[in-house]
Chain length 379, copies 4
């Protein structure tokens, strides 16, 4: 049996999510070429060794360069902070490895272009982990749009709402430091919406945005006195026009008290509408104006039918929910399939670049206070 | 212009609901023969005079017999307590008046039969005010069942939940005295469900029920000391078989904390299901297994379309809700139409009797602790 | 008994809504000085006579000037199209009448200022019919914000969604002609949101908006051939900053398939959030982060408690819903109270002007493609 | 390191669910003594070997007796059909193994008593896999009831609704044969409700039930002609009294079109209510009448807080859902903890017996058509 031998760079939250994906892909989907968990990598030797043991990796490393150079690795999976993605991805591509990277793909458009060039030149598989595309309800939305069930799209209205900063007394964290995190809600949450918008609606033409930092400084953590400046956006909102004439209204915030992980997307078209809310990720709402008038209404599709809904045959009977990490498992399975059969997989680095271009146009519009066109060149 | 001249016996909560119905029928529906508010009747002369003034009745009376005998009255509307319905209805019928009575129609099956005989002998119009039938969402449910949208019915699952007695310290009230109120939750709330069950599902075959009085005595009101025995049921539940083979599960309570007026009805059939909740009375949920499998789901129909939903043309544009009292207005308009065109109107006294027969069979089953057949004779 | 004698200019949809308000105020609220329906006015003599009869007005007129000049009128209520509001309101004020006008108050800021000056100079009562303020759930939201239940406001996210233009084949109508209607979704729907935003959040500082007309021409109606240009906005969206630092995201459209009258408002603050949806107008959602952590959640308040919720004592027991037109009744009752007791009533013409100033700033930003400050002077 | 060495008897749907539980317990919860997947057992040698490979078991066996006798096994986990549970469990106990069995524990009360005696005599750990107890929302409900948040319980209203038999043309299956399946909806679905009722409300006193088989015969499967009799219940409903005075209304069906796996539980008490729906298993609804009156409402608790909700620290950040199989993982972890620390774990075989006693009393009441007391002795 042929295995896809994985080297995982990073081992925290996302390292855990990706590891379970490789294992559960083998367990639930039985891919033709299963994953083999060859090496996990982190800078702290003791911690990464413990992670290797708990998660079931064959070996651990403390320098990502060693992993990239190992002959027994086919796929480099990057789940470290964004500022490290570029160097690792390019080195991996040059070493002939397939590359999967967490989102956002890069710190900026320029880096993303370099990364795209590297994987294209190397002829390896490349993928960005926009996991939402593999939530079955989103996959169903995509299919329904392709089936013309909502007709021509007029509106996309989306907001990704969290609340973990709503309390002005909650302490400073590294995610609030622009040097480390790149940006705040925009890069973290709007990135997801932008990818889904491109997936479901189409390419962005122009944008106008606003950002706000509600709490300008926060207490330092660890019992010490003093405050520290918050240097990222707490919220970023933007209006958009798509190439196909649709209108977009997109917002991300960490200050929506009571909203824990509400990635809400509503798309209105000439024949119908669809609505998704990640806090009820197993459901998709759908309205069709082709139903007879007296029985029209938003229906709540429970997206758990093994025989009708993508990915669900691998899991449980109808009405049995899946959870957050399952989308990573679906993603890993699709990637395995692409590697084995040498066929393309999406979202790839070009998708990652396009997303970056939209995010950057929004950032520019915040500064210029006027509309900005969205660039779409690859180099 | 011909008017339908009304005498209203009773002037409290239901007197107010019925009065507005007559006025709003004229206003919104413009019936061929409008209602004329001739006389309102109550035992307290001062109070009933004030009600006549506020509500806009031409005259007031203190003895219902006087109203029944007046030549300038066409319709007697009875909204007094249940123990008075029989005498007034029979006298009205003998005087050749049409009769509308609040539910429950009578204290028992025997009285209901006498009342039915009286109106039939007199050849007058007769109606029981089961107002829920005229909620547009229920009218839509009826239509959809007639259109075979849910196929053969397997299940009716209904509960009418209120919570105004959930606090064991809330004081005694006349509704808790069997001599005055006849029964508790059963006659008050299950009566509505039974009528809707007959309307939407069919006739009852047999029943088995249970009743409970959770709080056996309560503080007397008005600052006095002491307690008084509660002599009615706090809750009554029953299981049922319908003549057509469907299975019923019905429950009423005043102890469902947080449920204010939840008259919930779910009907499951071989092709679909419908769900109604009176706390969202402008909506009807509908599931159809004739939709394609991947887009099946419970849809929420907003029953406010002037062009598609019964009664709604008289009101506002789509998406503009109506409220509780509107069902009484619809009922009054249907009654006006029936009187003017001399055609039958439902639910009539036979429906009221059938409802009483089901309620009484349940009460019997509570005593005998075994299943009871439901009688369906008229005399 | 003293009456408030009303002259109503206009008699279609809003004429019906306002007429029922005067009648139902007398019926349900029994104001100290009840309304008297003196005169209704419209240009078509036959139609307005019929309306007077159906609705119960004492007389009808075909020239609004005649109504304004009548000595037996205290209050002029204007429900005609927006382009007529200014002349009627100023004439009424000069004649010493109180003035109530439908929204939007005027065609532009300049007219609104003249109107405000006229009523202020005349010392009469003046009110704009932003009826949503009198929906009990909105009144409750206002109260809860005043009670500091949601703390400092970070976000207002609001969209008013309808769908009656989603079908590109639906015919041209006067509302799509800028000369007649002034604007499209913006003036019709965003006007409501802007007033509620000012009511619940505070004054606007700056805005940036976009508009779109999805269907540029539509078939003419009445069986004739040919198309006609749509000259108003199908949708207008805007981002905003409030004076208090809150961030606004506001959108109105007539192309949100399946949304019939969804006026959705979400407000997130440092201690909690509230959510309102006009399609479920009897409910208000509320999240409090002051609940213990393991039992926090969005709660759905059924705003029907006679003893706890504004306006509800006049209506029915808990859990019995009210409908669209009830908010007009509440508005009429508050106006009666203000006239009788000579105390101020809101929203008044200054509120109407402020709303107009926000709407106009958005329109300007659509043209200039950059942020616009919101003017707040009265003259 | 000490391992808990598992022998799993059965390898289909439940075998998969239990296997992932052992693996994910090690992965997410890192128990002191992790599970070791020693042997999986099935009658078809080829199939069970494949399962061993896919799922990661060290060995496979075709005779459960061999597994029970192996020295390298600590825990026997039984996921085979109900009619095999008794023999395997008793043999395992006699061999000194801990025993986990799927529900329902046995075919009847008598067998359940023998099984309880065997594990008690052997002094081994014993557990029944009523997995719902480990859904975090149910664990939260239990905690909230213990905190007296809903006060004295008046009502439990629960129904477990599926729809896979709603189509009368769907073919016969072994689950419809009483000889194989024991019972239909009652043993399969009501068993879950009965266990949760005992967990959350208390012991049952008496019951009265009804059963129905809507479709008496069904086409045989596999392209052959002919029909076969359905010998189990399609639906079973029952009313109940609990020892503490609460009233129960319980129903299970496979004919509720559109309900895929709706295990709905509503409990009303003197101070509040809780509501659970397995189709939204990450949520728990809660109403408290101790909130101030104007802000009371049913709140939807998203039960995903790592710091506040049982089991959730092992998974993801707030607002990230878990799925169906996670409850099995929680169960496995609690069992590991109990085995390691030699402390009791619930629900045990006594709980399984109690459940059986309730189910059997309902079945008796269906036959006798009258109320039946629920026996509670252990032998």
């Amino acid at each position: 049996m042929t295995y896809i031998k994985v080297g995982l760079i990073g081992y925290k939250f996302m390292g855990k999510a990706h590891t379970q994906a490789y294992k559960n892909t083998n367990f639930y989907f039985e891919p033709q070429d299963p994953f083999q968990l060859k090496a996990i990598c982190g800078r702290n030797e003791e911690s990464v060794k413990a992670a290797a043991h708990t998660y079931g990796w064959e070996s651990s490393e403390t320098d990502w360069r060693s992993v990239v150079e190992r002959d027994d690795i086919d796929l480099i999976d990057i789940v470290t902070p964004s500022n490290t993605h570029k160097d690792i991805a390019i080195a991996a591509a040059k070493a002939g490895k397939h590359v999967l990277t967490e989102k956002p793909m890069a710190l900026n458009v320029s880096d993303a272009k370099e990364m795209l060039k590297a994987v294209t030149d190397a002829g390896v598989q490349h993928m960005v982990s926009f996991n939402y595309r593999r939530v079955p309800a989103i996959a169903l939305a995509k299919r329904m749009i392709a089936e013309a069930r909502i007709g021509n799209i007029y509106h996309m209205r989306a907001h990704y709402l969290q609340d973990w900063l709503a309390d002005p007394q909650s302490p400073f964290a590294w995610r609030l430091d622009k040097n480390v995190a790149g940006s705040g809600a925009h890069g973290d949450l709007n990135a997801h919406i932008v990818d889904l918008a491109r997936y479901l609606v189409g390419e962005f033409a122009e944008v106008i945005g606003m950002s706000e930092t509600f709490v300008k400084e926060r207490p330092v953590d660890n019992g010490k006195e003093g405050k520290r400046d918050v240097t990222v956006d707490d919220t970023t909102l933007f209006l958009a026009r798509f190439d196909n004439g649709a209108v977009g209204n997109i917002e991300a915030t960490r200050y929506a008290t009571g909203r824990k992980n509400k990635n809400y997307i509503e798309i209105n078209g000439s024949r119908g509408s669809i609505v998704f809310d990640f806090e009820r990720m197993n459901e998709l709402q759908f309205f069709s104006n082709e139903d007879e008038e007296h029985v029209q209404g938003y229906r709540t599709i429970l997206v758990t039918e093994p025989d009708a809904h993508d990915y669900m045959k691998a899991w449980w009977p109808p009405g049995h929910l899946i959870g957050y990490e399952h989308a990573f498992t679906h993603q890993a399975n699709d990637l395995a399939d692409a590697i084995t059969r040498q066929k393309p997989v999406y979202p790839n680095f070009e998708d990652g670049l396009r997303c970056q271009q939209v995010l950057e146009a929004v950032e520019n519009s915040v500064k210029t206070r006027t509309w900005e066109m969205v660039e779409k060149s690859n180099g």
